[in-house]
Amino acid sequence: MTVILEFDGVQRWFGEQRVLRGLSLRVEQGQVYALLGRNGAGKTTALRLLLGFLQPHRGTVRVLGHDPRDLGPAVRARIGYVGEDHRLYPTMSVGDAIAFEAGTRPGFRRTFVDRALERCGLRPAQRIPRLSRGQRAQLSLILAVASNPELLVCDDPALGLDVVMRRELLDALIDLLADTGCSVLFSSHFLGDVERIADRIGILHDGALLVDATLDDLKQRVARCTWVPAHGAVPPTGPHVLRVAPRRGGHDLTLLDAPPALLDDLRRRGELSPPVPPSLEDLFLDLTGPDRPGLLAEPIGELAARSGAGGGR
């Protein structure tokens, strides 16, 4: 696979606040990468660094093989961007916004836009300030995709939309991206949506990635189960236990790459329900929730050793 964008050891502060601490991730061609995280985790900062609106204090960012600080018009033309609040000129109508987009982006597909507008029920004469939040989000998305970008960057495009509008936006995104080969990096808080369209997810917490894996991999490697310990048995610890959450009469366990020996030991010391893959939302809560039990980061050297030994999945 070829790399479309890459963060390598990126660090960034705002004053005394450390927002990104050594963020490293890659998005491959045609991949839909969802960047998840709680508010203030550093998602928007990462996207702004990617587009050259900010500069990192340490580390490097590459997008389409270029340093974002030197993105010329030709490279920017290959990147579509949907901002967090779908900013469009409030002085314009939908038609004006389309004309503006067409005038500032080569390869703008007018027929594509006309079809997409019709599908979303938007008319060129409508004024931007009179559009609902959802309509504005749809229009932003249509405009961002209209010039057939190689990379689409969306900063929480569904923020503030109700369930129906969110679903429509998502459908629109899936439609628009169908068979285009476009890579997507988007941040979101809506994990159900992410599960529908993302190939790979990154969970960003406190400026560092806790998870950078494909959804399939996550489902295979992470399991949840309920364990009711026998009298006097203590909950398990170790590298395979992501979380132990107390519940009435027992514990909810989240296990990573749980070896059969661990499961046998748990069965021996108590009653264990069958392990099942957790939903993304459950996993997100397990990893980033307020009662998260000190999820230790793996030293990068060990990761490299594991990858080199063919342990990657």
């Binding site: 696979m1 050891g9 010329g72 018009p73 920017r76 469009l88 503006f100 005038g103 894996a213 991999d217």
Partner: protein
């Protein structure tokens, strides 16, 4: 470009309209006839409308996307940042052009619709109006450049203020002629140069985003903060003039006066209620009190009126060399005489008519003057030594017979007061009023009033000219505002008197110390220039009157030493922050040249946050759960 222009359409249209309305009102407020026909020496309303509208235009053009929140959306367009800048400049240019063309047109249409003198419109007035708009160009460029800088709002405001508050008065000062009018060419050139400099800064800022956690690139620092240091230095120097002048005025109030009582001159301080207390040569009070009632005669101060202080710091409209004579004369109406000798008579019933010499209504000579006299108006041609009297019935001027043994100097006037000028009061037959302004013709030998069509000499009418300062033995111009000497001329008093004024008491030293402290805070570069300049009658507000004309080299050096100390501290602070060598060199040089103003600006602009090195040592935390894929090659 077309798309960018369309997106800027709202502010372009709004500022077009607003600026045209403001400029039209400003033009008309000075009078349509005066503006379009006669010409105005000073277009104060247009000047203020032009610069304020220009600043707003520049700031709005630069901040439009920032205010709408579309800045990043726009940055992500496939458009080079330089093209974005050029599109905005095109918008500014079109608005300025609109103001320049449409505002005078609207004003003229209003004038033509509601004034009956429109047929005398002079094309030259358009040129004058165009020059009046020039401050809009420089102000727009300053507003645009400052608002384009990648920094916080309040810093942009400070930078714009420093540029504008120094640049505009500096152009005003440089274009001022010896006769205190302004040279059009230098005025225009100065404002264009300001605009070019500001636009160069705007181009230097292209592509930079505001980031409080990173220092500015050195190139941008030099382009943007270099002029800011200079501007702030000039503004500080100008503003220090006020406390310094207050200290000097205080010192002069504390200094004893030289008072005359009888045949003697003595040093004394005013005690109130007509009493002066005599002081010693060391300014210490004595027991002797002089009172006017005691027969000490003319007791008065002698030297205060000749104090030399710099010009006040003001933002004023330029004053063109052109002088327009305008006089309203009783029921006859209003008369105008332009610089080129054309004259008009405006009356509410007959409207506006042009008049001149003889039946042919020839224009008067350049430099002629006009005044109401007797029952009509007269025009004086100084070069030809002729006086013309307007014949209201024939609507042209007829020559007045002049006395053969006299030469007319000027048309003059004088206030006469009943009780003081009784003899003249009787001769002129003035009615029952307490005072009256009497216009008259001043000749080299006699002064005249107009009776019918005859000049009648009135003895004593032109005798009100005061003696020149140099003629008064009591007047001595202090060469320096703190230390100066006073010496009476031999025939002024029986006993010759000489005194060296210098701070001698604690109060005097405190007042002088205040003035000297103000000098220390001024930019050393300006102090050095002032020290090398000759003494002037009205020095510009940037220059320190205490060091002008080679005075007090020690004060210049002390100011330089103080600035060097500040520069050392500034450099030490920047080194501590981790600033690179060029940054330290820039601020050190700026502080040595511009003193405390630059040092303060360095503290304001170079924040510790921008230089903080908070790098975390590796290895960085890796994801706990990861899927490793094999990467082939990056996309180029």
């Amino acid at each position: 470009m077309k798309a960018l222009r369309r997106k800027d359409g709202l502010w372009v249209l709004g500022l077009h309209t607003g600026g045209i309305v403001a400029a039209t009102v400003a033009i008309l407020s000075a009078g349509g006839f005066e503006t379009f026909v006669v010409g105005i020496q000073r277009q104060e309303p247009l000047f203020h409308a032009a610069w304020s509208s220009g600043l707003v235009l520049g700031a709005v053009a630069a901040c439009f996307d920032e205010v709408l929140g579309t800045r990043e959306y726009l940055r992500q367009r496939a458009v080079a940042p330089r093209d974005l800048l050029l599109a905005r400049l095109q918008g500014i240019g079109s608005v300025l052009l609109g103001w320049l063309v449409l505002a005078p047109l609207c004003a003229w249409l209003w004038f033509a619709a509601f004034d009956d003198g429109w047929q005398f419109t002079s094309l030259g007035s358009l040129g004058r109006l165009a020059v009046g708009f020039v401050p809009a160009l420089s102000s727009a460029a300053i507003g645009f450049a400052a608002a384009s800088l990648p920094t916080s709002w309040w810093r942009r405001l400070v930078i714009a203020a420093a540029w504008w508050l120094a640049g505009v008065p500096l152009v005003d000062d440089l274009s001022r002629t010896a006769s205190l009018t302004h040279a059009v060419g230098w005025f225009v050139l100065g404002h264009v140069a300001l605009a070019v400099l500001a636009l160069a800064v705007a181009f230097a800022a292209v592509g930079h985003d505001a980031d409080a956690d990173r220092p500015w690139p050195q190139r941008l620092r030099c382009w943007a903060l270099g002029p800011t240091v200079v501007g702030l230095g000039l503004v500080v120097a100008a503003l220090l003039r006020e406390p310094q002048a207050a200290s000097l005025s205080g010192l002069h109030r504390i200094y004893p006066q030289v008072v005359r009582h009888g045949e003697r001159l003595d040093l004394a301080r005013w005690e109130g209620e007509g009493a002066w207390r005599v002081v010693t040569a060391e300014h210490a009070a004595t027991a002797t009190v002089l009172k006017r009632d005691d027969g000490h005669g003319d007791v008065r101060g002698t030297w205060r009126s000749q104090l030399q202080l710099p010009d006040q710091y003001e933002i004023e409209a330029p004053r063109w060399a052109q002088r327009v004579r305008r006089t309203a004369w009783g029921v006859l109406g209003t008369f105008y005489l332009s610089d080129d000798g054309r004259a008009w008579w405006r009356h509410w019933r007959t409207g506006v008519v042009q008049f001149g010499k003889g039946e042919a209504n020839d224009p008067f000579e350049v430099g002629a003057s006009l005044a109401g006299l007797g029952d009509t108006v007269v025009v004086h041609e100084p070069a030809a030594n002729r006086l013309w009297r307007l014949d209201p019935d024939r609507r042209h001027c007829v020559p007045l017979a002049l006395p053969a043994d006299d030469r007319i100097e000027q048309l003059d006037s004088r206030w006469l007061r009943q009780g003081q000028d009784d003899e003249l009061w009787t001769r002129l037959g003035i009615g029952d009023v307490s005072s009256e302004l009497v216009p008259f013709v001043r000749g080299a030998v006699r002064s005249y009033v107009l009776r019918g069509d005859q000049l009648v000499a009135i003895p004593g009418l032109g005798d009100d000219r005061g003696a020149a300062p140099d003629d008064d033995p009591m007047q001595r111009v202090p060469a320096d505002p703190i230390t100066f000497s006073f010496a009476s001329s031999p025939d002024a008093a029986a006993a010759p008197f000489r005194h060296e004024f210098t701070p001698r008491t604690a109060l005097e030293r405190a007042a002088a110390g205040g003035a000297l402290t103000c000098s220390l805070l001024r930019p050393p570069l300006l102090q050095g220039i002032a020290h090398l300049r000759p003494l002037e009658r009205r020095p510009a507000c940037w220059f320190d009157v205490l060091v002008l004309g080679g005075r007090r080299a020690w004060l210049v050096l002390a100011g330089g030493a103080f600035a060097a100390l500040l520069a050392w501290r500034t450099a030490r602070r920047l080194r501590r922050l981790g600033a690179p060598r060029p940054t330290i060199a820039f601020w050190s040089t700026a502080t040595v040249l511009f003193g405390p103003a630059a040092a303060v600006l360095a503290v304001v602009c170079e924040r510790p946050r921008a230089y903080a090195d908070r790098a975390l040592p590796g290895p960085f935390p890796a994801p706990r759960i990861t899927t490793v894929t094999r990467i082939e090659e990056p996309v180029a």
